[in-house]
């Protein structure tokens, strides 16, 4: 608990004392924090522009934080990134926080809100795209690659609506056609009429009624059975209480 409080305090202090830039346009925000002093002025400007552009396209809050002073393992970095996001943009809002640390090298890609739906399944691929640039301390290149991926997968996700909607339309048309044919066939038929009612049972006589046994035989078939199964994925809750996805790794 003390560890969590101290982590939150560290994040808050960091934000209050060292905010490089915050740009807001529409309902989303973009933030860049370079606590490690890894970036030049022109790099900062380029990264800001790129984050704004991607944020505008995806409607997500974007935050990049470079901090070499955070100590701990994989779970500490994950919690730092999650809480950093929540402190900046609020719990369960839609956005991403990219945490980068050098010596030892570590990158964590934290997603929140809708960003979990869009990018959780692509986390490995997004990090793969940044690793080579990060190894050469090219943060601008890494952020650029991340933004490319964010825009690409956002489009793919948007396509999902379209694809499902189109599939639904096709299914709906299919149902509509089926309804059309069923209704049409019902509007073409008179009720069936029986003839059994006209049989005069008092004047019906069976003159022959026989069931003669012919033969008997038995066959056998071997019984066979098959079975199969499959599984799915996960997300986690930060110490701040928000739901996050994504992942991270050393590079």
């Amino acid at each position: 608990m003390i560890k969590k409080l101290s982590l939150a305090a560290a994040v808050l202090i960091s934000i209050l004392t060292f905010s490089l830039n915050v740009s807001a346009r529409g309902s989303y925000l973009c933030e860049l924090y370079d606590y490690a002093d890894e970036l030049y002025e022109d790099e900062i400007e380029n990264i800001e522009r790129r984050l704004e552009k991607t944020s505008e396209k995806t409607g997500l809050n974007l935050c990049v934080v470079v901090n070499n002073s955070i100590e701990g393992g994989e779970y500490t970095y994950q919690d730092y990134a999650d809480v950093f996001y929540e402190e900046n943009f609020g719990i369960n809002t839609d956005g991403i926080c990219l945490f980068i640390r050098f010596d030892p090298n570590y990158v964590h890609f934290s997603t929140s809100g809708k960003a979990q739906d869009y990018y959780n399944s692509h986390t490995d691929s997004i990090i793969d795209g940044m690793v080579s640039d990060l190894r050469s301390h090219d943060i601008e290149g890494a952020v650029d690659n991340m933004c490319d991926d964010l825009e690409h997968y956002y489009k793919t996700d948007k396509m999902k609506w379209l694809i499902f909607g189109f599939a639904g339309l096709i299914i709906g048309i299919g149902i509509g056609i089926a309804v059309l044919f069923i209704v049409r066939s019902r509007y073409r038929k008179y009720a069936a009429s029986g003839t059994v009612r006209y049989i005069d049972k008092s004047q019906t006589n069976f003159t022959e009624s026989s069931d003669v046994f012919i033969r008997q035989y038995t066959s056998k078939v071997r019984i066979s059975s098959d079975s199969s199964s499959s599984g799915g994925g996960s997300s986690h809750t930060s110490s701040g209480g928000g739901s996050h996805g994504g992942g991270g790794r050393s590079f």
Partner: protein, 352 residues
């Protein structure tokens, strides 16, 4: 359509057969008369044909006092008593013209009087329409309801003596499992049935304008309530002259008799899982015919190029027909289903 036949002895107004009361009533002075009373009152004009002695006279009466009207538009032929005023065709609703008298062969043997009133028939139609979502609006209009007409439909009623037989191989199959194997035991029997079957009162309408399937759909009629034909039953109604004779309806009757016999034979066979090599033969040994007028409330509706018919059995109220299908309504409904499905799947796709 209005028919005038008998004048009330009290006020001189029109006497009509009241299906609800089963009496002849005067709408003006509200007098009621039984069939016997009507026959006595109009003894001079219409001799009773209830007794065999007067049969010839009844035929003569039919020949002399029945007019035949023909519809120049659709060709329907309508019988009505000679005092009948101008009438419209019950089928296409165009005016009909007097085209002559009827010969004795068209005199029906028996008639089942109307029991269901016009109001009850209209109510049946309205109930029937309730479950039909895709009918044109006009189909239920007041103007359309006015077209419901009481028609005596000519029927050939057949009593057939038959000899029916069936031969087949019946299989009794049972299965069980033991270890890794499923066992199936089959026992085969030579099945043979032969029976003398009487199929009685099979109706076949003799009016080509009225769909056969529609008349079959509103069966049955209870022939026990049938009476010797008298012109007085036509009062307030019209009758369709038959234009399909016994010979032409016989194939339909034979098919229905065959179906009835097959069901009797099949019912006598039990306890078999399947029947193979079934061989059925049905011989109709003799057929007795009756020509009868059966009461039907009938209505037609022209939609597009097609004529749609609706009928009510005026003895027991059974209703059937084929409603016109409004494609604009149906396509709108299908469009809504398609749009709803697209929206639903779109939302599901977005949530995934």
């Amino acid at each position: 359509m209005k028919t005038v036949q008998y004048k009330c002895p009290n006020c001189g107004g029109e006497l009509k057969f009241n299906a609800e009361k089963q009496l002849f009533s005067c709408e003006y002075c509200l007098s009621d008369f039984t069939e016997e009373q009507v026959k006595q009152i109009f003894k001079k004009n219409e001799e009773t044909d209830l007794s065999e002695k007067n049969a010839d006279k009844a035929v003569k009466d039919f020949e002399e006092h029945t007019n035949l009207y023909t519809c120049p538009s659709c060709g329907a032929e309508i019988m009505a008593e000679e005092t009948t005023s101008a009438t419209f065709c019950y089928y296409c609703h165009n005016p009909v013209i007097l085209s002559g008298r009827l010969s004795r062969e068209y005199k029906p043997g028996r008639v089942i009087p109307f029991k269901v009133t016009r109001e009850a028939a209209v109510d049946s139609f309205k109930r029937w329409c309730k479950s039909k979502w895709f009918i044109p609006k006009d189909f239920k209009s007041k103007r359309q309801l006015e077209k419901i007409t009481g028609v005596y439909v000519p029927f050939w009623i057949a009593d057939c003596k038959t000899n029916a037989g069936l031969n087949a191989v019946g299989k009794q199959i049972r299965s069980w499992t033991a270890g890794d194997y499923k066992y199936t035991e089959t026992r085969e029997f030579a099945v043979s049935r032969r029976a003398d079957i009487k199929v009685k009162g099979v109706p076949a309408d003799g009016a080509s304008k009225i769909p056969d399937e529609l008349m079959e759909a509103i069966e049955p009629f209870d022939y026990k309530e049938s009476r010797e034909f008298s012109m007085s039953y036509l009062s307030g109604f019209i009758a369709n002259k038959y234009d399909v004779d016994k010979g032409k309806v016989f194939p339909r009757v034979r098919q229905r008799v065959n179906d009835a016999c097959v069901s009797v034979l099949n019912e006598s066979i039990g306890n078999y899982s399947i029947m193979v090599g079934k061989n059925v033969h049905i011989d109709i040994l003799s057929t007795d015919w009756q020509y009868m007028l059966l009461p039907v409330w009938f209505m037609t509706y022209k939609y597009g190029d097609k004529m749609y018919s609706f009928a009510v059995n005026a003895q027991n109220g059974k209703t059937d027909g084929i409603p016109p299908l409004s494609y604009p309504r149906l396509l709108s409904f299908c469009g809504i289903i398609a749009a709803a499905s697209a929206a639903l799947f779109g939302i599901i796709g977005g949530l995934l």
